[in-house]
Amino acid sequence: MSIQLDRFIKRVSTSLSFCLLLFPTISVAQQNFDDVEIQALHVQGNIYMLVGAGGNITLQAGEQGVLIVDTMFAPLSDKIFAAIRSISEKPITYIINTHAHSDHIGGNANLALMGSNIAGGNTIDLFAGTGNQAKVVAHENVMANILVQDNPIAIEGWPTDTYYTPKKDLFFNGEAIMITHQPNAHTDGDSLIFFRRSDVISAGDIFNTTGYPYIDVANGGTLQGVLDGLNNILDMAVPADRQEGGTMIIPGHGRLSDEADVLDYRDMLTIIRDRIAYRIDQGDSLVQVLASEPTYDYDVRYGADSGFWTTRQFVETVYNELSAQ
């Protein structure tokens, strides 16, 4: 308990300044969502992927209800709800958050209030979060992260069911759902969600197909944690015949993937890490490492010279992490 408290206090002190940098860049106020369409793609089994603006949503639908992983931005909630209704008439029963960034939890409150969870008799309305809204499941560090945000989401969207153990299991819609905490990866509150019967992993921002991973250092993120997460995904995933499909992976951002896509991404990040580590071992400064262009061969595909997370920031973050070891 004291360790968690220490971490929380430390996070408060380090996060405030970082939030000023991070959240204005992905704030809702600056974005116009009028033209955003929510597109639903059936993945396999009970699982769908919803794509719009912000992090991808994983949707599981069945007889018991609807479970979604992440909720994009709040202004998109009505469109997301309409997309859900095109797949299932059942209530939204569970929301699972992969981490606490606003592009993944922004719609928590709206969508939770559009749902209901399994409760009956005199428990309905007796306790907060029972019956009249969906449950929100997340690692406890997500909750801690929300509490330090300058402009946190509405309280109705806060996690109602946090876990602090390495794993948490659910069984819903006839399917085992294995939630694994991936420590110190994209943040310190990341969860990988494995839908075992449908054979789909929802990876959150540990894996994306659009750029280098954003490492939220202020909230406990590390490249090594991201690599550990990717390696865990590779351990869980099994490709099907002729290496097509099999376990499907829904990234935090970008296109639907499978093991081979995660493998290429893992290989790239490992190679970049090794290059930077080698230069540090040679005594190079950050300026010298940047001059050596350790990401050059991947930059056209994954790099960025401007915007929220540039290649330079990525290299600098990795340099700082490896230098501290």
Partner: protein
Amino acid sequence: MTINNSSKTGLILLLATMVLVIPAQAQIDLSGEWAAVFHEDFDERRPGPEMVEYQGIPINEAARRRALSWSPSLLTLPEHQCKPHPSDYGSRGPSNMRIWKEIDSESQQLIAYHTRIRWQAPERTIWMDGREHPPEHAAHTWQGFSTGHWEGNVLVVRTTHLKQGWARRNGVARSDLAEFTEHFFRHGDYMTQVVIVNDPVYLTEPFIRTNNWKIDLFQQIPPYLCETVTEIDRPQGEVPHYLPGQNPFMGEHAERYNLPIEGVLGGAQTMYPSFIE
């Protein structure tokens, strides 16, 4: 012989019907068992390319640096062992191929061509029914998503949604943003495929190759099973590669064949006769 008016009318209708069906019937059939012919690029395709042998590929500097960091030991990792060739490269390997048609039983319209290649047994579908390509966020596969149409007797195929693959199997990467176009020509018992790859990440110009097959009425493509094994016990997450400037094969191919190093490092200029001169 005299022909009365009703017979004339019937003949005209018959001829008109035949004319109307000619466009469909005239499109040459590609179905069959095709044995690969390796009279082009034999050394690259069968024994395989050597390390740091990139000539003739219009790669950019990013592709060159990435290729120089590639170690063949990567293929010892279990996750890499059973990867099939992507469809833009499949014809370069042991590519004995079966092509068969999928026909709608009611309309007798061609829905798709299917292919199966011997090595790693990739099966591919070329949709001929005019369907759209999937959205951007759909999965990418080794064989990609292919649609075809006829230009005369030439089958023209467009393929998108490819996984990251390779332009040459010695580490020259082809990105997952690449697309390619094929032209299949049949000349009697021979068939030629022209493959034109466009890759905005790693190529500066379209990369064009041709491959050939001969019909083989006795060909039997065997089953192909691939199971991974742990060849080297490595720590989790270790990825074999060469650090910049440390590729031990740099210059080996050039020296063996007395070629200039700037030639074997590839680039668009190395595709043209003027470079050799």
